[in-house]
Amino acid sequence: MENVLGFISPGILSQILVGLSRTVILFIVSSGLSLILGVLRIPNVAHGSLYMIGAFMAYTVSHLFGGGTTGFWVALILAPLGVAALSFVAERSLFQFLYEREHLMLLLLTFALSLVFGDLVKLIWGAEYRSVPVPSMFQGYINLFGGLPFPIYSFFLLVMGPVIAILLWLLTNKTKIGKISRAAAVDREMVGAVGINVNWVFAIVFVIGCLLAGLGGVLVAPTVSVTLGMDHTLIMEAFLIVIMGGLGNVWGALLGALIFGLTQSLGILIWPQFGIVFPYCAVVVVLIFRPTGILRSTW
């Protein structure tokens, strides 16, 4: 602790940045959850399972393609698409018939699906730990700010965060489907009354949201051991982030993920044994002051 006065030590800075790179994963997954929550009004409990399936698919695809850098890039494209395809099938065969029923039905359906997906993973990939190697081009460290060693993969994640945020912004604000989905989030009946088939809008938004879950799974895969049950903590965290940010608000998910990720990494620094508690405290504090979330909820 040589820099106590006024300077943040490189170790702490590095810890914060690694924490931020985890925030990117949280953001990507929760923005998908929030998108679905906002437009379709479905609290998708199976979202975490799709994240897990994304990670397992990344394992399979990257090993099929040699396990190296190529394998990783192919997995980065194919695994989210695989998750998207799976969610598309689920939406067309199940969800679409329940949109006009009470929300409880949809909630129960997503819960059932999370169980089914969990078993599916067990059947296909088994219960062992799997690992996805960090691609060789992302192995090792770079020096940030002249001398701070920082894992290249974490740096890659830090870049991905803003890229995804910008893509999401473009999608919701500049594309027709984005504008339609913002209108449908507030008044789906009227969107139908101007000639738009809301059913298909829902399908597209659902698939995009699930694709984000899959993408989060792929990106996290090289940093953790891919295993059954990796969805449990994540889905809880994602829901907390979405609640903290404002239900259905994608930018709220960004803020929520930042708060969650940063308090987590700082908490571990300040009080290692209890570090895990800090983000939950942050959620409580935020909700005391802003019970409906930081940003405007679409609910």
């Binding site: 027709k176 504008k179 339609i180 913002r182 209108a183 989030a185 507030v186 008044d187 009946e189 009227m190 969107v191 139908g192 009354a193 101007v194 000639g195 738009i196 088939n197 809301v198």
Partner: protein, 229 residues
């Protein structure tokens, strides 16, 4: 153009419309008059398919459209302007018009802005920030974007200042001149009579009178009992 034959519509268990029949011929502006809670909006919603009737038939240009999903009704040429406006508040004026399904080339944004020049000046403003009159123009413009052959206008003048009502009436007459058939619901009978050629009077979910404007003007009993004028 539009033929409604004996429709009965319910909200859950409550029976709202009782054998409502009416028709609109090509190029006509027909009034659906009645006081609060008479069933005007419910009739409009039944035609659009938002609240499908349990019994009875609705046909458009000879084609049966009973119980059809609203987006299909729109695609077959029915424009719907709800009484509570319902602009897409989060979107700009431009975007409100742009996201509409365009089924023909007759109407586009430029033509809508030509009818409602005031909208053009605020085209990038959030629709939720518009005044009542501006929102009303926007909902009509939005319906026009689908190049409708029939327009369902549900109390377009409700809550607007008299001067703005006059403007709106002129704009609605322009739509008639453009060949669009209109079913216009109103409580504001005086305003409606300036635009319509024929009227139905509805009360308690039943059609109580049907006839030309002259016949309605002459029928003091109907006016007193159902329209309070």
């Amino acid at each position: 153009m539009l033929d409604v034959g004996g429709i009965n519509t319910y909200y859950g268990l409550s029976h709202i419309l009782f054998d409502v029949s009416l028709n609109v011929k090509a190029g006509e502006v027909v009034g659906l008059l009645g006081r609060n809670g008479a069933g005007k909006s419910t009739t409009m919603k039944s035609i659009m398919g938002i609240v499908p009737p349990k019994r009875g038939t609705i046909s458009l240009k000879g084609k049966d459209i009973t119980g059809q999903k609203p987006f299909l009704s729109f695609r077959q040429g029915i424009g719907y302007v709800p009484d509570d406006r319902r602009v897409f508040a989060d979107l700009s004026v431009d975007d409100n018009l742009e996201i509409v399904h365009q089924r023909g080339r007759d109407w586009d944004k430029d033509r809508v802005y030509a009818i409602f020049p005031a909208l053009k000046e605020i085209r990038s403003r959030r629709a939720g920030h518009l005044s009542g009159g501006e929102q009303q123009m926007l909902t009509i413009g939005r319906a026009l974007m689908g190049s409708p052959e029939l327009l369902l206008l549900d109390e377009p003048t409700e809550g607007l200042a008299p001067l703005i009502v006059r403007d709106l009436e002129q704009q609605i007459m322009k739509l008639k001149d453009a060949g669009i058939s209109i079913l216009l619901s109103e409580q504001n009978v005086r305003s409606a009579l300036r635009m319509i050629t024929r009227a139905y009077v509805i009360d308690n979910g039943r059609i109580r009178f049907e006839g030309t404007v002259a016949e309605l003007e002459a029928n003091d009993e109907v006016k007193r009992k159902y329209l309070m004028i």
